[in-house]
């Protein structure tokens, strides 16, 4: 009986309580603590919310001339726009823990945004090019399609960069002509991104 009582007593010890402690302040710019095991949800816009200016892990970059900074929505780290008369493209930067559902799921989501049919794993290698950046190897996705609501030609370019347990998305989307004109500036912008933990 005493053994059973001991089992019950020890079983009762597992209760979780509030802990109070004092720690040194975290250095700004230290890499974001990554989540082991990604969440079950899919879609990069649902994964995370914006670190603001003081948030850890935001890279430094050089913004190309002619890009206008836009107010942030909760899921974004940075947002810019570039216009040419009525035509327009927007550039966004976001980062999320884990692999965000995998490259294929994201490519198909973007294909849906430009009214293209989904592809399968076998076609993925053709749809994605490799890109070397300062922060590591990235994937480049370049899609041309139509805007479902405006029915005009749109283009979407996205650089997917895994870094320190996060997946970073540098995305430009808008009118085909503007995106084509800004493509080099966009890729240069990606190349200037320097992460806080980079040597």
């Amino acid at each position: 009986m005493s053994a059973l009582a001991l089992v019950l007593v020890v079983a009762g010890c597992g209760k979780e309580e509030i802990k109070v402690y004092r720690v040194a302040k975290e250095k700004p710019g230290s890499p974001v603590a990554a989540n082991p095991h990604a969440a079950a949800v899919t879609g990069d816009d649902r994964r995370s919310m914006p670190p603001g200016e003081s948030a850890p892990g935001k890279p430094a970059w050089t913004v190309p001339a002619g890009w206008a900074e836009e107010p942030l929505t909760p899921m974004l780290l940075a947002k810019f726009s570039v216009t040419d008369q009525d035509a327009r493209a927007s550039i966004t930067v976001s980062a999320f823990p884990g692999d965000v559902g995998g490259l294929l799921a994201n490519v198909n989501r973007w294909r849906g945004q430009v009214s293209l049919p989904p592809i399968n794993e076998a076609d993925l290698a053709q749809a994605v090019k490799q890109l070397e950046t300062q922060a590591g190897d990235a994937s480049l996705v370049d899609l041309v399609g139509t805007d479902a609501s405006k029915k005009n030609r749109v283009r979407l370019i996205c650089v997917v960069l895994p870094h320190a347990g996060q997946t970073w998305f540098f995305k430009m989307m808008g009118d085909e002509l503007v995106v084509a004109r800004e493509k080099d500036a966009f890729l240069e912008f990606v190349q200037t991104a320097k992460f806080p933990d980079a040597p």
Binding site: E16, Y21, A39, A40, G165
Partner: protein, 420 residues
């Protein structure tokens, strides 16, 4: 008379057999249940429980349908202990003396020669078993059961993810989260009040002497998605403050897969005697801490993976892994880390690799893997298990008990033959 019957019941070999049979069935059905429920839920509902409950879909009640791991293990423990209490079963004076002497020898070697803390504990356990006159095989099994229960209750498993050059003085839980209310007013240090997710799920009002406000948990979602635009089946955040306000959320089913986990979200209101400070939506998906200022002190709120701080820090100097030629299958991982401890001035390099963990500060750091998205990030599994030695001591006791039993039978047999 009644006591005799009770002793007879608890010392019966039949009870041992029934318990072992039930344990086998529990392991079998628990293994099958993992398909739908996932490993972690099965562990808690089948093995770390007194009963396995059945709840009809949508019903608010549940009924016990099978004994859980704690009950079977507990009865087995009582069965073993009761056998010791039954004087008819085992006297074993000589065996106790042998086990006690062996323990004393081990203690002596540990203290005078090998200076091994582990061997000393092993020796002390042997002496204790000898003094208590417990049959060593039973003693080993009792220790094994108690040690496993202790491990279950006291061990803490977490992960340490480090990129090259990165330094951390805390590890993080793989699945459990906490609401961290951090007083950031002081220039050099932060005071953290960490509230475990289990408490957020259980209590509606949380107060603590170190918090100047009470936290009213309006809603706690074990798993949720967030969106920055209205979408079908998403609810608008009722938060009135900070970045958790202009978002939409949706409750998701609990995940059962091994390689993914739940991402909780909570909607909390902070109340003071002067009134409400506002409502916040906190989620691990919101990585930016949200702020509130009250009585000239600034607090940051954030739901994050549960942290385990250490009195030392680890810096990853170099992470390397080899693959089998012509494949992506990892062959070997190793992490060269720097261990730094301010209070002792310790500063040294250690190589952690597969089957060669770092044991430091009461914890063991195993090379667990690497980040598949970024091969420069190492993942170390951090295990604090105060009872890690018990299986070794238990096995040693059982082995000694079996040898003594075998030898005594052999000696008896030989002496009988001689006299014949």
């Amino acid at each position: 008379m009644r006591l005799d019957r009770l002793i007879a019941f608890f010392t019966a070999l039949k009870l041992t057999v029934v318990c072992l049979a039930l344990a086998m069935v529990l392991v079998f059905i628990g293994t099958l249940a993992q398909v739908d429920m996932g490993l972690y839920r099965v562990q808690s509902e089948f093995f770390r429980s007194f009963f396995v409950f059945w709840r009809p879909q949508g019903a608010g009640w549940k009924i016990p349908v099978f004994p859980g791991g704690y009950l079977i293990g507990g009865v087995l423990l009582v069965n073993l202990v009761a056998t010791r209490a039954d004087p008819r079963r085992w006297a074993g004076k000589r065996t106790s003396i042998v086990v006690g002497v062996l323990g004393l020898v081990a203690l002596g070697i540990a203290r005078l020669w090998l200076h091994s803390h582990e061997l000393a504990i092993c020796g002390a356990s042997f002496v204790l078993v000898g003094l208590l006159r417990v049959e060593p095989i039973h003693g080993g099994l009792i220790l094994l059961l108690l040690g496993q229960l202790g491990t279950d209750m006291l061990s803490v498993e977490s992960h340490l993810r480090l990129g090259e050059g990165q330094t951390k003085d805390y590890s993080e839980s793989g699945r459990r989260t906490e609401l961290a209310a951090v007083d950031t007013t002081e220039p050099n240090t932060d005071r953290v009040v960490a509230i475990p997710d289990s408490l957020l799920a259980r209590r509606k009002i949380i107060s603590h002497a170190d918090l100047p406000f009470t936290i009213h948990v309006k809603r706690f979602l074990h798993n949720a998605s967030l969106s920055n635009r209205p979408e079908a089946s998403f609810e608008k955040s009722p938060a009135t403050q900070d970045v958790g306000s202009p978002v939409w959320f949706r409750e998701e089913p609990k995940v059962t897969k091994m390689d993914v986990r739940d991402v909780p979200t909570a909607i909390i209101e902070l109340q003071t005697p002067q009134g409400s400070l506002g409502t916040w939506l906190v989620s691990e998906l919101i990585r930016q801490p949200q702020s509130v200022t009250f009585n000239d002190r600034t607090w940051q709120l954030g739901l994050r993976l549960r942290r385990y701080y250490k009195p030392f820090s680890l810096q990853l100097l170099k992470f390397s892994f080899d693959k089998y030629p012509g494949s992506d299958i990892p062959k070997n991982f190793s992490s060269r880390v720097r261990v730094m401890r301010a209070d002792t001035g310790e500063d040294r390099e250690v190589l952690i690799k597969m089957n060669n963990p770092l044991r430091y500060g009461g914890e063991t750091f195993y090379q667990s893997g690497y980040d598949e998205n970024d091969p420069r990030v190492t993942i170390l599994q951090v295990v604090r298990n105060p009872g890690w030695l018990t299986p070794y001591v238990a096995c040693a006791l059982v082995s000694v008990g079996l040898v003594i039993r075998f030898m005594s039978h052999l000696i008896e047999f030989l002496s009988r033959r001689r006299t014949a």
